[in-house]
Symmetry: C2
Subunit: 130 residues, 2 copies
DNA sequence: CTTTTATTTAACTAATTCGTTATTTAACAG
DNA sequence: CTGTTAAATAACGAATTAGTTAAATAAAAG
C-alpha cells in the first residue's frame, strides 16, 4: 500500500462519525465488539463492518480471547494524518503572509461595494429561487 | 452544521488523493480552475466537482475575477482536524510503557470474560486456504 | 451432544460517489 | 451581434458505501 493509499484509507475511515466515536471509546482502553456496539442504535453486523474499515485503515487491531475479539486503538495511523497535516500547519499557526493581505482586501470588498463595479448592471441569477 | 458534520465533511474531502493534490497546489498560492486541472488526466467537470467538495468542507474558498474563479486554501478547516487529532496525539507521542500499564489495569477493571480458557484446544480453522 | 454467547459473513437494497460527455452560463473581445 | 474562453450544470452509469435481516462460525457452558 502506498503512502497515498494509506492516507486515503485513513481519512475515509475517519469520515464517519460512528467510527470516530468507536475510536474515542477505544482511547479509553481495549474492549469487545459487543461493548463497542452498545451506545449505537445499529445492528451488530453494521458495527462489525465499521470495525473492519478501521482495521483496514490500521486504526485498530483485533485480538482473540475465547469467543471475544477485543479491539484496541492503533495510534500509528493517526500519526500519518498528523504528519500530512504538518505541511499545512503553518497556514493557520503562522502569519498568512501574502495570503493575509488578499483576505483583508476581500473582506473589505464585502463590507463595501467594490470599486471595480463601474457598470452596476445587476443580472438576476437563473438558478436562484425568487 | 454541527462540529461532527463539519469533521465528517472535512475528512471525507481529504480522503481523495486528487483533492489532496489540489490542496497541495493551492498551498503554493491562489489559482484558477483550469490551472488546477492541468496536472490531472481528468475532465474539467470532474475537477469542478472536486472543488465543490473542498468548498463545501470549507477547505477552499472561491473568488471571482472576470470569467475566472480563483481558488484559495482555507486553513481553518484543517485546524479543525488538527484539534480533533489532539485528543489522540498522546498515544503516539508519549511512551507506550505507561499506556500499556494503564490499558491493562483498565481492561482488568472492566468486565472480562467470566472464565479463561484453561485447556487451549487447537482446532483447525475451516475457511482458511492451505 | 446441545445450547448459549460473541462475532462474522451472505445477500440484498438504498444512497452516495466519481467519472464521463453534452449542454449551459458568464464574461469578455472583435 | 458573433465568437472565444472559463467554469458550472445536466444527465447518465459504474462502483462503493452503509445499513438491514438471516444464516454461519467459533468457543464455551451445561
Amino acid at each position: 500500500m502506498t503512502q497515498q493509499e494509506r492516507l486515503s484509507a485513513t481519512f475515509s475511515a475517519l469520515a464517519d462519525p460512528t467510527r470516530r466515536a468507536i475510536l474515542a471509546k477505544l482511547a479509553l482502553g481495549e474492549t469487545s465488539v459487543t461493548e463497542i456496539a452498545k451506545p449505537f442504535d445499529m445492528s451488530m453486523p453494521a458495527i462489525s463492518r465499521h470495525l473492519k474499515v478501521l482495521e483496514h485503515a490500521g486504526l485498530i487491531a483485533r485480538g482473540r480471547e475465547a469467543q471475544w475479539r477485543p479491539c484496541r486503538l492503533q495510534a500509528a495511523a493517526l500519526k500519518g494524518v498528523d504528519d500530512w497535516l504538518g505541511t499545512y500547519r503553518q497556514f493557520w499557526e503562522e502569519s498568512f503572509d501574502r495570503l493575509d493581505g488578499y483576505l483583508s482586501a476581500l473582506q473589505a470588498s464585502q463590507k463595501k461595494p467594490p470599486r471595480k463595479n463601474k457598470k452596476p448592471v445587476v443580472k438576476p441569477k437563473k438558478g436562484v429561487a425568487p
